[in-house]
């Protein structure tokens, strides 16, 4: 009845041989390139392997990374030492501020930057971040014999001054107070800190920080190698953090500064 309308069926079909050829070419391409992929546009891995690994380190990010007496310390510093051994490379530590280091990293003048970086950092779109190698949590430390609390509302919680803990406690209707007689106070602090002080970290979890390392943008082979290394290290992570937290505790001075209740 409507033969006069041109049938679109034949003109629009995708012919079998066409699809087949394309798929075959793709497959060959993938298999050939597979051994090489992914590559580093800026050859980071090739330059580091058997050579020098330039690691940017922020000066004061205990227990993750800090500099003391010209030596690099911290969880991430230790990871870098192990990684360098794996890559048969010498580490050159480049201390600096986070901003300077990351800008340098962005321009491919460093190979890795460490310093307690979080995945939520605003830099994440400008440089490459590894997958999180550890998640630290801001939790509550309970004094001896006290049961877990469900809500912080109306309670006095000891916190370190000028840390996110102050605001987080306030948001849950708690009263942030100075850190004094630890044994009898509820304390809000990162889980590794609580463990160092002898608390068992308990709910509620006030914040989660996903720790990452930074690599130059687009250096995908380098990133893959580093991520594989970090994945292999995941069993050692807790032990490493514990030992480094202890080291940083001994090295640091007491933080107790009075925090006004109604500030």
């Amino acid at each position: 009845m409507y033969q006069s309308d041109a049938s679109p069926i034949h003109s629009a079909t995708l012919r079998g041989p066409e699809t087949g050829t394309i798929l075959l070419l793709l497959l060959i391409g993938v298999l050939l390139g597979g051994c090489y992929m992914p590559r580093d546009p800026e050859n980071t891995q090739r330059e580091v392997s058997g050579g020098t690994m330039h690691v940017g380190i922020t000066r004061n990010a205990a227990p993750w990374a800090w500099m003391k007496d010209g030596q690099a310390h911290g969880v991430e510093a230790e990871l870098m030492r192990r990684f360098a051994r794996r890559m048969d490379a010498q580490v050159k530590w480049v201390p600096g501020t986070e901003t300077n280091l990351l800008e340098t990293l962005e321009r491919f003048e460093l190979d890795v930057v460490i310093g307690g970086l979080h995945r939520s950092s605003p830099w994440r779109n400008r440089i490459g971040f590894t997958r999180r190698y550890h998640t630290s949590r801001l939790m509550i430390g309970l004094p001896e014999g006290m049961n877990a609390v469900k809500s912080l509302s109306g309670r006095e919680i000891a916190v370190e001054a000028h840390t996110p803990a102050v605001r987080l406690v306030r948001e849950r209707d708690g009263h942030p107070v100075a850190l004094e007689r630890r044994a009898t106070q509820l304390v809000a602090a990162p889980d590794w800190r609580l463990e160092q002080w002898g608390y068992e970290p308990a709910e509620p979890i006030l914040q989660r920080n996903r720790h990452v390392l930074a690599v130059p943008p687009g250096e995908n082979r380098w990133l893959m190698t580093l991520e594989r290394f970090l994945h292999a290290q995941r069993g050692n992570m807790d032990e490493l953090i514990r030992s480094q937290a202890g080291a940083s505790g001994r090295a640091a001075r007491s933080h107790a500064i009075i925090v006004g209740e109604n500030r």
Binding site: D5, T13, L14, G33, R131, G218, E219, E227
Partner: protein
């Protein structure tokens, strides 16, 4: 003739096609949802993957529009909508076309900026079965899943679309079939990144964006013209449809008809129109109108509502009729 246009009844032999069309569209919807979810998991920071994901996200709208349209066309017209619901699908398609245009433009601008800024996309690993695997390797099979069934589904839809004269279904079939090209472009982008060509990703996204924009503009134009009551076109949109002429011919065969002019417009799957007839004399006008109406209906199932108007002249003497005849003869 009544105040309300009549309810559309599909010829019996087409109910099978209708069922097939419905089934294919439902399959499409489920399939696209799985695609969107799967792609979201392996997106990474690849521009090309983002582009392909957006493309697939928007392509949820056409099947939904078609299904809604197929459902609405069976609804009896009401006093509120005396012309029926045939146009509802065209409007849904307008919306989808605008969305396509916006997405296309966004992708073009975004990818161009990334190229200008020389952004190197970072694509890391994802842990699968306890082992970190490069995301690029995961993206490729996902893209195969995105491209191949889409091409097959699109191809399958052309048949029912043609027989049902359902333009949104055709447009949907076209777009779905083209999805394999989107998937291929994204795959080439990923391979490019894997080989160290950081710009391959943005270039692929740019190409995909251009394709989406092209689709969007084409369907937008089509939809707008349809809603402007353009003269019906053939299925591929290249020529005027011959249905108005066939109806006019059929009416001319009636012995009491001296002259007849027909104008029509498309509304969804069917045609509405008016026929102006100059009869030989003014004998039995009511019966004649009824007869003309019946003859017009018999020409084609798509001839849905033709208002017959008996008249003494076609407006200004000579000019209109001459012009139309001359236009047809191709002398103008």
């Amino acid at each position: 003739m009544s105040l309300l246009t009549r309810r559309l009844e599909l010829p019996r032999n087409l109910t099978g096609e209708l069922r097939k069309a419905r089934l294919l569209e439902w399959i499409s919807i489920v399939y696209i949802i799985t695609v969107v979810v799967l792609m979201y998991l392996v997106l990474g920071s690849s521009q090309a993957m983002k582009a392909a994901w957006l493309d697939n996200f928007i392509s949820l709208v056409p099947p939904i529009a078609v299904l809604v349209g197929l459902h609405l066309r069976t609804r009896a017209p009401s006093l509120r909508f005396p012309y029926g619901y045939h146009r509802a699908v065209s409007i849904a398609f307008q919306v989808a076309s605008v969305a396509l245009c916006v997405v296309g433009l966004y992708l073009i601008i975004d990818s161009s900026m990334k190229l200008i800024e020389a952004k190197h996309p970072t694509i890391g690993t994802m842990v699968l079965f306890g082992e970190p695997i490069w995301l690029g390797w995961l993206m490729l099979p996902v893209l195969a899943y995105v491209g191949i069934p889409a091409a097959l589904l699109g191809r399958a839809k052309f048949g029912p679309a043609y027989y049902l004269h359902n333009k949104p279904l055709v447009a949907d079939a076209h777009m779905e079939k083209a999805d394999w090209m989107t998937a291929l472009a994204a795959a080439l982008g990923i391979l490019g990144i894997g080989l160290g060509f950081w710009w391959a990703d943005s270039v692929a996204a740019l190409v995909i964006g251009l394709d989406i924009l092209k689709d969007g503009v084409r369907h937008l134009k089509d939809g707008v013209f349809d809603l402007m009551d353009r003269r019906p076109q053939t299925f591929d949109g290249k020529q005027p449809a011959d249905l108005p002429d066939r109806v006019a011919e059929r009416l001319r065969q009636l012995d009491w008809v001296k002259h007849v002019e027909v104008r029509m417009r498309e509304a969804g799957q069917v045609f509405f129109g008016e026929a102006f007839i100059i009869p030989m004399d003014d004998h039995a006008p009511l019966e004649r109108i009824a007869e003309a109406s019946r003859c017009a209906d018999e020409v084609d199932w798509r001839m849905h509502d033709l208002v017959i108007q008996l008249t003494t002249s076609f407006g200004e003497p000579h000019s209109m009729h001459q012009r139309l005849t001359a236009e047809r003869a191709g002398t103008e």
